[in-house]
């Protein structure tokens, strides 16, 4: 262990937190996830990316004397003194099975797969609990009126943590419905990117074969040289119209 780490550990103020009701003293600088590990917990589940995008580490907590429910991702949220927390890495939610390619992308298909959509009472508990600040109630409201594109947009930041479903008064699996909306939006409602087809055609016509073969046959040193010396870097303040001088492989 390096001395710097030791020093930090000594210097950081220790604060009490309660994990599932049991008190621990942990350094105040840690995230909930690190604090749990500091306290001796070992993650087998409830932890994935450690970067705030996988949705595995959703955590619910309360503060003393406050009726509010607080939530956060354990890997992103810094501990607070006297917080009462538990992780809720998974919450059972009805997920419909469907053959995606058999869908046509209309709202009725979503209604048929998730009729419980219509049990939403607009209590907004879902939006309040969402650690990603997604307006969950609003994407459910958009879906109820069949606006798939709006639902896809509003739910875009969802990381499928499931906390919304844990609080839903109408017993909806919001995040699964939102995911279906995003899938449909991407596959059926968004205009196709035409330049993609051109690109694929170019690739198939062998436009890049030679460039790729050159890279494939290069040995390690040659690759390093190409990457570090030969590569033309984009200047820091380059304008939008900047293009490299060497463009045979573009």
């Amino acid at each position: 262990m390096s001395t710097t780490t030791e020093q930090t550990a000594v210097e950081a103020k220790m604060i009490p937190i309660y994990v599932m009701g049991k008190k621990y003293e942990v350094p105040e600088t840690l995230t909930i996830m690190k604090a749990l590990e500091y306290a001796g917990y070992k993650y087998i589940r409830g932890c994935g990316c450690r970067g705030g995008v996988c949705g595995a580490c959703s955590t619910v907590y309360r503060k003393p004397g406050d009726y509010k429910i607080y939530t956060g991702l354990a890997c992103q949220t810094v501990v607070e003194p006297e917080m009462y927390l538990t992780q809720l890495p998974f919450y059972p939610a009805n997920r419909a099975t469907y053959d995606f390619h058999a869908l046509e992308g209309n709202p009725e298909e979503i209604f048929g797969l998730y009729p419980e959509l219509f049990r939403c009472v607009a209590c907004n508990a879902c939006s309040k609990v969402c650690p990603m600040d997604v307006e969950v109630m609003d994407y459910i409201a958009a879906l109820k009126r069949g606006d798939i594109a709006a639902a896809a947009q509003i739910s875009f930041d969802c990381i499928q943590c499931g906390l919304c479903a844990s609080r839903c008064m109408g017993e909806l699996p919001q995040y699964h419905i939102g995911q279906l909306a995003r899938r449909i939006n991407g596959a059926y409602l968004t205009p196709r990117a035409e330049h993609l087809a051109t690109m694929v055609a170019n690739i198939e016509a062998g436009r890049y074969t030679e460039c790729l073969n050159k890279l494939k046959s290069a040995d390690e040193d040659e690759l390093k040289r190409l990457y570090t010396e030969e590569r033309e870097l984009e200047p820091a303040q380059a304008g939008e119209d900047w293009t490299p001088k060497e463009n045979v492989c573009l």
């Binding site: 709202p107 607009a122 209590c123 907004n124 939006s127 609003d138 409201a141 109820k144 009126r145 069949g146």
Partner: protein, 296 residues
């Protein structure tokens, strides 16, 4: 300032013919409405249990959205939305204790105490626009068309939010008369179509809907005008079931009141989305020379 417009979910899908025709008609009339940029389903039915306030939250939230934008009036087209929003508004205005509970619960929203006025296009036309002014704007009045006004439940009951006398209403009669139609009075005009029982007891809904349709037909109505997508479902979309089940039942074209308004104002039939009605609806208008052709 424009009036806030609350559409309701069904008007964005199966009830598009109600919304589109209404917006086109209001444009002709110079009624300036703007859809709320943010709104949620009102819940369609008002909570009837005294101790159940959670089901009042949805419509109140929509009213908060109107108030937030500094608008004082919200206009509705669907009569169930009208009823639910108006009743919720009434509660927020008049029941201090429940108002506080609801405001406290919605701690993320500004407090609300019934400042917004909830109107339906029909009473707006009667009270604010005026039948006379409307009459002046007509391009192809519904001359020679025998239409029965079907009120259903939610425009007239309960009394607190009724747009007219619950037992002897004239609102839709006057509306259709203004449009130039021959108004056919019939005894079932205020009777329920079965409403949400289409889910729980579909046969019962079919039976009461059949009575309404045959009641109108017996009085010589050639068509029915209504204001609610659920009535339209029971009486219009599911009329095939009725025609099959009851001997002697005859086809009755069903219109949203706004579609009749729009065509009478000379709006192109394409904008009224008659493809979402029974085929007989556009056909009858064509037969009566109110529109020149059935839209393709």
């Amino acid at each position: 300032m424009s009036i806030a417009y609350y559409p309701g979910c069904t008007l964005k899908t199966k009830g598009k013919n109600l919304e589109k025709s209404a917006l086109a008609a209001m444009e002709v009339l110079g009624i300036d409405v703007e859809e709320l940029p943010r709104w949620n389903c009102c819940g369609a039915v008002y909570s009837l249990a005294d101790d159940d306030l959670i089901h009042v939250v949805a419509p109140v939230r929509d009213l908060v959205r109107v108030a937030e934008r500094g608008q004082d009036t919200v206009i509705t087209l669907c009569s169930m939305c009208y009823n639910t929003l108006a009743r919720a508004n009434d509660l927020m205005k008049n029941d201090e204790e429940k108002r506080k509970t609801i405001n406290d619960f919605m701690d993320e929203e500004p407090d609300y105490s019934g400042e917004v006025r909830v109107v339906h296009l029909l009473d707006y036309l009667r009270d604010e626009y005026g039948w006379d002014k409307l009459k002046e704007k007509l391009k192809s009045p519904l001359n020679g068309m025998k239409v029965a006004p079907y009120y259903g439940c939610t425009l007239l009951r309960p009394k607190e939010v009724a747009l007219d006398h619950p037992d002897r209403p004239v609102l839709m009669h006057e509306f259709l008369e203004t449009l130039g139609a021959d108004v056919v009075d019939f005894p079932n005009a205020m009777e329920c179509c079965g409403s949400y029982q289409v889910l729980g007891n579909p046969d019962a809904a079919v039976e009461v809907s059949h009575e309404i349709l045959s009641g109108a037909a017996e009085k010589g109505a050639e068509a029915l005008a209504l204001t609610c997508p659920l009535c339209d479902f029971n009486l219009g979309k599911r009329q095939d079931i009725i025609l099959e089940k009851y001997e002697g039942a005859s086809e009755v074209p069903i219109y949203y009141f706004t579609q009749l308004l729009a065509v009478a104002l000379g709006v192109a039939p394409e904008e009224c989305h008659f493809e979402l009605n029974r085929d007989s609806a556009a056909q009858l208008l064509k037969d009566k020379n109110i529109i020149s052709a059935v839209p393709a």
